[in-house]
């Protein structure tokens, strides 16, 4: 310590122009001043422009009557009495709906194709490879327009809807399916499902402890299936199937009853699933390839069977590589769901930066709020994933 201070004090005096500390401080002050000046100019210009164009500022519009219809609402919403604030929540829920369903489907598709991509069967591997090549090299917007305009809007009209099994109709107004109307007794089925999930978690914990202590394996898969699927089904049958179905019925110009998945929703869902699935395929493939072959060989040498090797040796190590890029694909899917604007699905970007912005003209507030929502989702997810990732990360010596 003392040697250093001595050396520092013995250093010849340099001109402050060449002192790294002075330079660093000066540079940062300049940077902040430039940025501050830019912000000042922007704000004062905005203030002047807004007052000249007589555009209101602030969030006063939030409680004003919206007065426009939304085609898919998960909340109570009506153009007659709902406010812009309610429109915001409806849009946000629609975004989350398509994002969550899309993420589940894209994960299934991506993992299937990722494993298929590594298959020894050249047809299987080839189909997976060309799926990725084609889908990744085409803009998502083109794919969405294709699904919406060339596939779903080209379906037969209501009068000659395609009739599928189970009372499902498919036409250019969407996919009509029977709506389940649970009777009061159906609550017990939910109860059974809840119990099954809790019991499964407890059983898995016990099986794991026992395996770590004694090495004995429990039939986890069968027990899980029995508890989560079998138990609710059993309760459902014992209670005498307490559910009624409201079947869609074709009238002359429309289909009444049942529930409907709109073509806008389906097009966006197909597009997002297939597009993101291709990226997840590559993530999964890279993750599996990242597990060195020695791991598999060592497992075989210890006498583990191939499926146990996959489950206990390859997947846990591959997941460590897969999860970070997988998260960013999930976020990409959520952000890409804003392309709903182009097919007319009423998501947040469409409802809020579209209609609400047009009606109120309050660009700064509306675009700002929308950005903040996406930003919160993105940063929140990456925060959670960082914690998870740190826990799962390889602990090196």
């Amino acid at each position: 310590m003392s040697v250093q201070t001595e050396a520092a004090s013995a250093r010849p005096k340099v001109s402050p122009l060449y002192d790294p500390k002075v330079r660093s401080v000066a540079f940062q002050v300049l940077l902040c001043a430039a940025l501050g000046f830019l912000v000042y100019v922007a704000v004062s210009n905005a203030h002047e422009n807004l007052s000249r164009q007589k555009i209101a500022t602030g969030l006063g519009f939030w409680n004003n009557l919206a007065g426009f219809p939304i085609s898919q609402t998960l909340l109570d919403y009506s153009e007659r009495y709902s406010t812009y604030g309610q429109a915001f929540w409806v849009g946000l829920l629609n975004t989350l709906l398509v994002a969550v369903v899309g993420i589940v489907l894209a994960t299934l598709l991506g993992f299937t194709m990722g494993i298929a991509r590594l298959s020894k069967n050249i047809l299987v591997a080839g189909v997976a490879r060309w799926y990725v090549e084609i889908v990744r090299n085409l803009p998502l917007l083109l794919q969405l327009l294709f699904w919406y305009n060339a596939v779903l809007k080209a379906l037969p009209s209501v009068r000659d809807s395609a009739q599928l099994p189970f009372g499902i109709f498919l036409n250019n107004r969407g996919l009509f399916s029977p709506r389940p109307d649970p009777e009061p007794l159906f609550d017990f089925v939910w109860l059974a499902l809840g119990f099954g999930v809790v019991a499964t978690i407890a059983f898995r914990w016990w099986a794991r402890k026992r395996q770590e202590a004694t090495g004995a394996q429990a039939p986890v898969g069968w027990v899980t299936l029995g508890l989560i699927v079998g138990l609710p089904v059993l309760v459902f049958l014992l209670l005498g199937r307490p559910i009624a179905f409201d079947y869609p019925a074709a009238t002359r110009f429309n289909i009444g009853g049942g529930m409907v998945l709109q073509p806008e929703f389906l097009a966006l869902l197909f597009g997002l699933t297939i597009y993101t699935g291709a990226f997840i395929t590559e993530v999964v493939r890279a993750g599996i390839l990242a597990v060195s072959h020695g791991q598999t060989e060592a497992a075989y040498a210890l006498g583990l069977r191939p499926n146990i090797t996959t489950k206990l040796i390859i997947i846990p190590q591959a997941m460590r590589v897969i999860i970070p890029p997988l998260t960013s694909q999930y976020l990409n899917l959520t952000k890409n769901s804003s392309l709903a604007v182009f097919v007319g699905y009423p998501d947040l970007a469409n409802v809020f930066t579209g209609t609400v912005l047009n009606q109120t003209g309050q660009a700064i507030e509306v675009v700002g709020i929308t950005m903040m929502v996406y930003l919160t989702i993105s940063l929140g997810t990456s925060f959670v994933m960082n914690i998870y990732n740190n826990r799962k990360a390889l602990v090196e010596r």
Partner: protein
């Protein structure tokens, strides 16, 4: 050693029982393996290993047989190749099968390429395409001579020349062409080229800022990068389109295309910054320390030692970012700009060409265009990656 040899060795009789896991019997020799060479063995290994694979092979074979012939019939055999309007592509009693209406694409090809750019001035667009092609080849071909000059050409000379050519310069006799007349492939290329030219330098600066020891520079970079990466491009374009005009004085209102270009360039810069940062982090610390020990200043260290190496290993990722940028330029239609995809959308609903297969043909043409561009870029990235891997292996 053959099985006959193995069985001719006498098995020594065991005297002690030995540990329980040591087998006491000699296993029967396995049968010789099936042929492992030749087409039959190849098919056995790659198509018909086990019942699951046989089933998959049959299902996929049937699926391909179901998809490919109709597609070929649509795209080639039943396609209409020439004609002047919708009459050649509609169903008539004699023409019951109509495939792709390529006549439509051929008829509107100039619109898809130049948009509404004045016909008399379209040579300027062609010159721009040629200049851009020279720059791309010069910069991307790792064996091209004087690639440093290529960089100057691409990032300094080309933007100035292109601006003069495309926008016009009355003092050179090139009349002004309003940007609202631009369209088609021209706009797609301009958007991605501007994105590329602006985002790389800006991305490098942001990446250096993020890794800097100066807290203010670091904070500003981190906030910008994380903010832009956390929001969808559409909202950035909205911001550029409706908020930017509010932030600048009245007499300086940017035109529509410029607003979109600002949005795209800033968006791409944030992604580029993260790619470059990964390259900077991958470089061994010794390179930084060595440069500092040589007494190089910060900028000398960066431009002479660090960046050349870091950028080289990031080339594949940079190209992948460009592929994303190229695909993302389709979104500029949201602020009312006629890019390539929008010209197709506009042309396919034009009643002059109102025929049943026109929409599908339009989308197929767009798909082929985007696929070729993106596939070329990704093949290039893969090529560089393979080359770098070979260099690392020694």
């Amino acid at each position: 050693m053959t099985t006959a040899d193995a069985s001719s060795f006498p098995t020594p009789p065991r005297v002690d029982a030995g540990p329980a896991y040591v087998s006491r019997t000699t296993l029967a020799p396995s049968p010789p393996p099936y042929s492992v060479v030749g087409p039959v063995a190849w098919m056995r290994e790659h198509l018909f290993t086990g019942p699951v694979n046989i089933a998959l092979t049959i299902i996929i074979g049937l699926l391909l047989a179901w998809i490919i012939p109709p597609f070929l019939r649509f795209a080639i055999f039943d396609a209409v190749w020439s004609g002047a309007n919708r009459d050649v592509c509609i169903y008539t009693p004699e023409r019951t099968a109509v495939g792709a209406c390529w006549a439509f694409i051929w008829d509107r090809a100039a619109y898809f390429t130049y948009g509404s750019y004045p016909v008399a001035e379209r040579w300027r667009v062609n010159v721009f395409f040629a200049l851009l092609a020279i720059g791309v080849v010069w910069l991307l071909n790792l064996k091209a001579p004087r690639r440093d000059l290529g960089g100057v050409y691409f990032f300094v000379v080309l933007p100035i020349l292109s601006y003069i050519l495309l926008v016009g310069a009355p003092w050179l006799g090139l009349r002004n062409v309003e940007t609202n007349l631009w369209g088609g492939i021209l706009v797609t290329i301009v958007c991605s080229a501007v994105g590329i030219v602006v985002s790389l330098p800006l991305g490098i600066l942001l990446a250096l800022g993020r890794r800097s020891t100066m807290p203010a520079a670091k904070l500003i970079s981190v906030i910008f990068i994380e903010f832009v990466r956390g929001v969808p491009l559409i909202t950035v374009l909205f911001m550029a389109s409706v908020m930017l005009p509010l932030f600048v004085p009245d007499y300086l209102q940017p035109d529509k295309l410029l607003r979109a270009l600002v949005g795209i360039a800033l968006f791409a810069a944030a992604y580029m910054a993260e790619v470059v940062r990964a390259g900077l982090q991958a470089l061994p610390r010794g390179q930084y320390e060595g440069a500092m020990a040589m007494g190089l200043s910060y900028w000398q260290m960066m431009t002479l030692v660090v960046l050349p190496q870091a950028l080289k290993i990031t080339i594949p990722n940079i190209v992948n970012t460009y592929i994303g940028l190229f695909k993302d330029t389709t979104l500029v239609v949201i602020v009312g700009i006629f890019d390539f995809l929008k010209t197709i959308e506009a042309a396919r609903i034009d009643p002059t060409w109102g025929a049943p297969t026109v929409s599908a043909t339009g989308y197929l043409y767009a798909a082929i265009f985007y696929f070729i561009c993106c596939y070329l870029m990704s093949s290039y990235a893969r090529g560089v990656e393979a080359r770098l891997a070979r260099a690392d292996k020694r």
